[in-house]
Structure formats: C-alpha cells, structure tokens
C-alpha cells in the first residue's frame, strides 16, 4: 500500500479480513517474541548466577585435631568439643572458623568415639543429659542412647552421626568433621 494513500486515522478494519488477521497475528507474535528476547538476556544472566551454588565442589569434610587422648579419661561422660576449621566463606578466608561441635568419648586405651552434635532430625545441637545418660535434642525431643542409637519414639530418622576418628602421633585425636543430610535414614554427607 502506498503510504500517501493512507487515511489520516487508519482504522484496523480497512484491509480485507483475511490478510488483516494474518498481519495482526504476525505483529502480535513479533511483539511477544521481541519483548521476550529483550528480557531473556538479563533473565539468563540472573538465573545463571542464582544457580551458581549448585555447581560448587562436592563436600569431603575436613580433618581436625581436637584434643589429646590422655585428656579423655576412660569412663568419663561424652564431652563436647568445638570445631574450628580453615574455611572460606564466599569471599572471606577464615584461618579458624567455628563450624560445629563434636562429642568425644574415650572407649578404651586406644579408641575414641566421635558423634556429630547436630541432630539428624533437623540439625539443632543435641545435649548430653548426664542424669539420664542420653543425648537429647532440645528442639523436637529426639533422644539417643549413650551409643548414639535412637531411644524410644523419636522424631529423628536415624541415630547420631558417627564421625571418623584417628589417633595420630603422641595421642592426638583427629576427627573428620562432616555434616549430614537431616531428616532421612541414610547418612548422606552434605558438607
């Protein structure tokens, strides 16, 4: 159509119905496509960064020296040790960052047992209740025996998480500090 013949105020129903419909449809489609393409770039960039944490390396725990074996008398109640590791929290490197706590108990001359203090139910810190000789979670009342097994009806799906222990030279007690997925039966390391 020659633009010079166009009326001042073109009314949409001037062209024949069929070609007009097609033109309208193409215009709408182009509009949506172009509009979509415009927001696609920032959206894609945003989503990529948002999903960034998913691509971080799988966790492997870290070995920490908590004490000496002589400091744990045989027959004494489990004792809580704070765990500090070298850790990089996003952009900050901490030479000594508090990450959790571990219960240590001397079993015999040469062996030490370590329990992660995070409750396998939902991650609150369990306490040693000396009067009943159980581990107890003050959040949802999960209870565990002295050996870390589930005690009675308990919200936790599994017993306390045992951590690997090594006694290294001169009786140093080294523990592999790990965190496990909460609320499930299997022991799945997550950090």
């Amino acid at each position: 159509m020659d633009p010079s013949h166009e009326p001042e105020n073109p009314s949409p129903d001037v062209p024949s119905a069929a070609s007009g419909d097609r033109r309208e449809f193409l215009k709408s489609a182009a509009c949506l496509a172009l509009g979509g393409a415009c927001v696609l770039a920032p959206l894609a960039a945003g989503v990529t960064v948002l999903l960034g944490p998913l691509s971080s390396a799988p966790p492997d725990g870290s070995w920490v020296n908590l004490t000496k074996i002589e400091a744990l008398p045989i027959g004494a109640a489990p004792r809580l040790f704070q765990v500090f590791v070298e850790r990089t929290d996003a952009w900050t490197r901490h030479p000594r960052s508090a990450v959790g706590a571990v219960f240590l108990e001397r079993l015999d001359e040469t062996s030490v047992r370590a329990f992660q203090s995070a409750c396998p139910h939902l991650g609150c810190a369990v306490e040693w209740r000396k009067e009943k000789k159980i581990f107890f979670c003050p959040c949802h009342n999960s209870a565990f025996t002295h050996d870390g097994e589930i005690s009675g009806p308990s919200p936790a799906a599994r017993g306390l998480d045992t951590l690997a222990v090594e006694i290294r030279d001169e009786g140093e007690v080294w523990v592999k500090f790990q965190t496990f997925k909460a609320g499930v039966k299997e022991r799945l390391p997550i950090a």
Partner: protein
C-alpha cells in the same frame, strides 16, 4: 492557592483520583468489623517505613550483620525504638491477619464473585509469613541462626529437588555470607515487591466487587470518607499504640548473642506464630517427617484455597466455618502446648537465660571497647573471661568442684562434689572457711577428697588433722596470729576484689608474713612461703595469684604443690586439656579479673 490546586488538578486530575479512592460506598454504614484490612495496610506501611531505615543501617555479612544491628539498636539514637516497632509490628500482624481472615469468612465475603480476591488474600498471608521467616535470620543472633537452620533443613525434605533447593536458599553448604545476602534480598526486596503487587490487586478487586455488607444493615449506607476511615484510623491508632507499648515494655526487640555454629543453642525456637508448626513436628517419627512439614500443611493450604468453591454448595459455607474454627482451635492448642512445655523445662529456661546473658555481655563489650574488631562480635566473646570462664569451669572442673554450690554456669551438679567449692578461692573469707574446724570436712572444702577420706590404712592429711585437732584449742593470741597469717596468705593472690583492703592492711600483712616464716603456728613446717625453704605441703608463695594458679593447673602433682599426695586433680597443661588461652581465661574469671 486555589488557583495552584486548580492548575495541578488540570494537569494531573488528582481530585478525581482522590474522590475515586475515598468515595467508597459502605452499605449499612461504617462498622468496626470492617477495619482489619485497613489496619493491615497500615501495618505494612509501618514495616516499609521502619524497614527501609533499618536497611540503611544494616550490613548483610557473617561478621557484620549482628554488629550492624547492634549498632542500630544500641548506638544510634532512637534505634531501639525503630527496630522495636519493626519487630513488634511483625508480631502483631499475625493476629491482625487472623482477624481479617475470620471477618471475611464469617461474613461470607470469600464466596463468588470474590474467589480471586480471596486467593490474593491467601497469597498475602503466605507472603507475610515468608517475610517474617526471612527476617528472623537477619540479626544473625543465636536464636535466628539455629531456628532458621531447622527451616532450611526442612526444605531439604522437599521430594526430588530438596537438596538443590536447600543449597540455593542457603547459598553454600554451610551458613555464611551468602545465606544472609539471599535472605536479605528476599526479605527486603523480592517478597515486599510481590506483597505490594498483590495488595494492589487485592484492593482493586475489593473495590470492583464492593464491600460485603454484614446483614441485617443496622444503619443507612455511608461513605468510606470520612465515616469508615475514622473508625479505621481509630483502629490503626490502637495498633500502633499497642506496638509502642510493647516496645517500651520490652525495651525494644531482643538481640541475643551473635550466631556461633560451635556454640550449641538449646533454646532454638521460631517466632510465636510458628510454634504450632514447631510443636506439630514433634509428632512425626523418622521419615514421616514430610507429613508434618509438607504434606499436611500443604493439604490444609489447598483446602483453604478450595473454600470459595466449596462455599457454593448448600452446607459448604457452614463446613468452611467449621473447618476454620477447628483449625484455629488446633493452632491455639498446639501453640499453648509448645509454650507450656518450654515453661516447665528447666533446661530450656537455663538456655534462654544463658543466651540472654551472652547477648547482654556481647553488647556491653562492644560498647565499652568502643567498637567491634573486624573478626566480628564472636571474637569479643571468645576472649572474654566472664563469658568463657563459667563454661570452662562447667566443662573442665565441675565434675568434681562446685562454684558457689553450682557448676559455674548456674546449674546444680548431678552428683555430690568431690573437691572444694572454688568461688572466692584465695580470698580471706575462703581461707577463713578453710581453716574453720567446722567447715574443712564439709563438701565445701575437703569433705569429698582423699585428704579427709583416706584410702584404707591411710590417715587424714596433716593439714586436715591440724585444723580439726589443733585449731579448736588455739588461745586467743594464736587465733589472732592465724587471722594475720590468713590475711597475709590471701594477699599473695592480689585479688582485684581485695585490692583496697590489701592496701589498707599492709602492716597486718607484713606481720602475718613474719609470723608465717617464724613458724608461729607450724605453717612453715610444711609450706614454702616467700623463702627457699621446702616442705611437703604446697608452696604458698604467690598462692592464688595468676602465675600460681597457672602453674598449679598445669601440674598439681608437681613437687611444688601436692606431689605424690595429689588427689584426683588432673594435670591440665600436661595432657593438653586446656589450651594456654583457655587456661588464662579460666584463671582470670576465677580471680574476678574480668574486665568491664
């Protein structure tokens, strides 16, 4: 002036807009039951105003979040009121939401043609709770940290994508900077933006369908302006009045001890309106957890969503009301149950008190040190004798010793003590009790030790025998000598609490020292005291001083101290049970050397 407004109206049409906004038809006249929507709008406005100023003073980082909130609260003038209003308004919004919801349900305003608006309302309810939840973590104190951990662990229970979802929400495998930046962006950006969008839709749809009048109409119809608005503002005034009263009464919102992943917090609880859900979770064992955390709450939400559709059929409305009231009853019952359990739980009470003390202490240290080191407020507490001393005592000493009859942290011991009570160790009073024939054999001093209860065939220690056999028959002069010696020995400790009396009694102390070395009361037979003599008893030179205690704790079985006669006191230094840093904190706390 009129000309100016006329011009403005011609350019903007503001008068028409104002008329549109205010000339809402209120069938049956203004009523108090219609105020709840307005109070919620008001509450949200208050949260925006206070929230934006809080934002201007907030720093979302693991070593700066607590610190910046502390600064807002304790240093900035009026900061505690600002944060208090934000906190308590959030608390009050939940009952306001419930009232608004109940009014809509009871009056049947959720039914056709207002279904979509009802769903908008449910969306707003969800958003409000999500904003509260994300805001709970931001102060980065122990309570927010440990309670939010429970929530993000619940997220990992979502089928199939739970682990990934949790990772996205937390931003890393562990809580840290990324968790705070995300929660803050949600709390102050994404969720409030959605909230505003939904409110616009909610109000627009409300105006489109008009008010659902409570029948029968009691009064002639009225206009929103000014009749209903007057009542609305009275209600808003009551709301802000209540909030200010709460702020004043509690002196602002609580700021607990800074978050510490290595310091278990036994009082992790969500805000009060989530306590019902918290209590609910206790009933699900093992992997049935998902029923309590997702399935049942999800079904309840779906049922709420379906209510306008259910309401179309005959008894539907009554059914809905029945469900709502039963649900509300359940909510109240579970909440009450949770609070009652906590009120009766002494472990919980002790944990709350401890957290409060730590929080106050952290704030106090930050104030008196004129700021917080770059490592954050945790470093302040980690190097503070008053914070760490009682903990170290409870974990290292309280299996045998007491401190003022307790374990150092204030809890009673489960078994009778087997070693002396160490509160005031080295002070004149402590030593007077020690030398008291009536007291030495009680559990406060040597009552639980081998010095009083020797192994079969053995004898009580020389010291115990001296105190129980000779001291009672001391003459008045000997008693006076003993007192002088006690004062002299106590002066060795140079306790801060005795600084003044030690200074004013210098002559007395000098006399006591001379009496000691001159062996007036047989002390020097066994004890070394400011000389090179040697004996079987512990060296009393510098007794109770920082250096003496450090050496003693490192190895009480050393010849200078108890030697072979050491009872069960462990050699803390030898076996590495206490690091030099911890040893120093413990000693300074025991000596009352805690800096302000």
């Amino acid at each position: 002036m009129k000309a100016l407004f006329d011009w403005l109206d011609a350019r903007t049409g503001y008068r028409g807009l104002a008329r549109l906004a205010l000339h809402e038809h209120v069938p049956g006249g203004a009523r108090w039951r219609y105020v709840w929507g307005s109070t919620l709008t008001f509450a949200i406005a208050v949260q925006f105003i206070t929230g934006i100023v809080l934002w201007m003073n907030y720093s979302a980082g693991a070593q700066s979040a607590w610190e910046s909130v502390y600064y807002t609260q304790e240093v900035l003038p009026g900061g505690w009121v600002l944060r208090g209003i934000h906190h308590f308004m959030a608390q009050l919004m939940v009952p306001l939401l419930v009232l608004h919801f109940m009014q809509v349900m009871v009056d049947g305003a959720y039914r056709a043609p207002r279904e979509v608006n009802y769903w908008f309302g449910l969306g707003l309810l969800g958003l409000t709770l999500a904003i509260s939840l994300t805001g709970y973590l931001l102060p980065w104190d122990q309570r927010g940290y440990w309670s939010t951990k429970v929530v993000t662990n619940l997220i990992s229970g979502v089928p199939f994508i739970g682990d990934k979802l949790q990772r996205l929400v937390v931003g890393d495998a562990n809580y840290g900077h990324q968790t705070l930046t995300r929660f803050f962006a949600m709390h102050a950006g994404v969720l409030p933006a959605l909230l505003v969008l939904l409110i616009v839709g909610h109000v627009a749809l409300f105006r489109k369908h008009g008010l659902t009048a409570k029948l029968p109409k009691e009064k002639p119809d009225a206009m929103f302006w000014p009749d209903q608005l007057l009542q609305d503002f009275v209600a808003c005034g009551t709301v802000i009045g209540t909030v200010l009263t709460l702020v004043w009464y509690f002196h602002g919102a609580e700021l607990g001890a800074p978050a510490n992943p290595a310091e278990p917090y036994s009082a992790a609880r969500p805000d009060w309106y989530f306590m019902a859900l918290f209590q609910f979770l206790k009933f699900f064992e093992g992997e049935r957890l998902i029923w309590g955390s997702l399935v049942i709450p999800g079904l309840v939400f779906l049922l709420l969503m379906a209510m306008p559709l259910l309401g179309r059929w005959g008894p539907g409305h009554r059914f809905n009301l029945f469900v709502i009231f039963v649900g509300l009853g359940g909510f109240v019952a579970l909440t009450t149950m949770a609070f009652q359990k906590d009120a009766a739980d002494e472990h919980y009470q002790a944990a709350v008190a401890q957290a409060k003390r730590d929080g106050e202490r952290a704030k106090h240290l930050a104030l008196t040190r004129r700021g917080i080191p770059t490592e954050g407020a945790l470093a302040l507490l980690a190097d503070d004798p008053l914070t760490q001393g009682p903990r170290l005592f409870a974990s290292q000493c309280a299996s045998c010793h007491t401190y003022a009859g307790r374990d150092g942290l204030g809890a009673p011991l489960t078994e009778p003590p087997t070693a002396p009570d160490l509160a005031g160790f080295g002070s004149r009073e402590w030593l007077r009790g020690f030398m008291d024939p009536q007291l030495i054999e009680t559990p406060r001093y040597f009552g639980g030790t081998a010095f009083v209860h020797p192994k079969a065939g053995g004898r009580k220690s020389k010291m115990v025998r001296l105190i129980t056999e000779k001291v009672p028959s001391y003459t008045a002069e000997e008693k006076a000598q003993l007192e002088k010696i006690l004062v002299a020995v106590s002066a060795e400790a140079a306790l801060p609490a005795q600084k003044e009396s030690d200074a004013s009694d210098a002559a007395l102390i000098d006399e006591g020292r001379k009496l000691f070395t001159a062996d007036a009361l047989e002390c020097a037979d066994c004890h070394q005291f400011r000389n090179d003599a040697s004996g079987d008893g512990p060296d009393l030179t510098g007794y109770g001083s920082r250096a003496w205690l450090a050496d003693f704790l490192k190895n009480p079985g050393h010849d200078r101290f108890y030697g072979k006669r050491n009872d069960r006191m462990p050699a803390f230094g030898k076996i590495g049970r206490l690091s030099p840093h911890d040893l120093d904190l413990l000693i300074r706390w025991m000596r009352g050397e805690s800096p302000n």
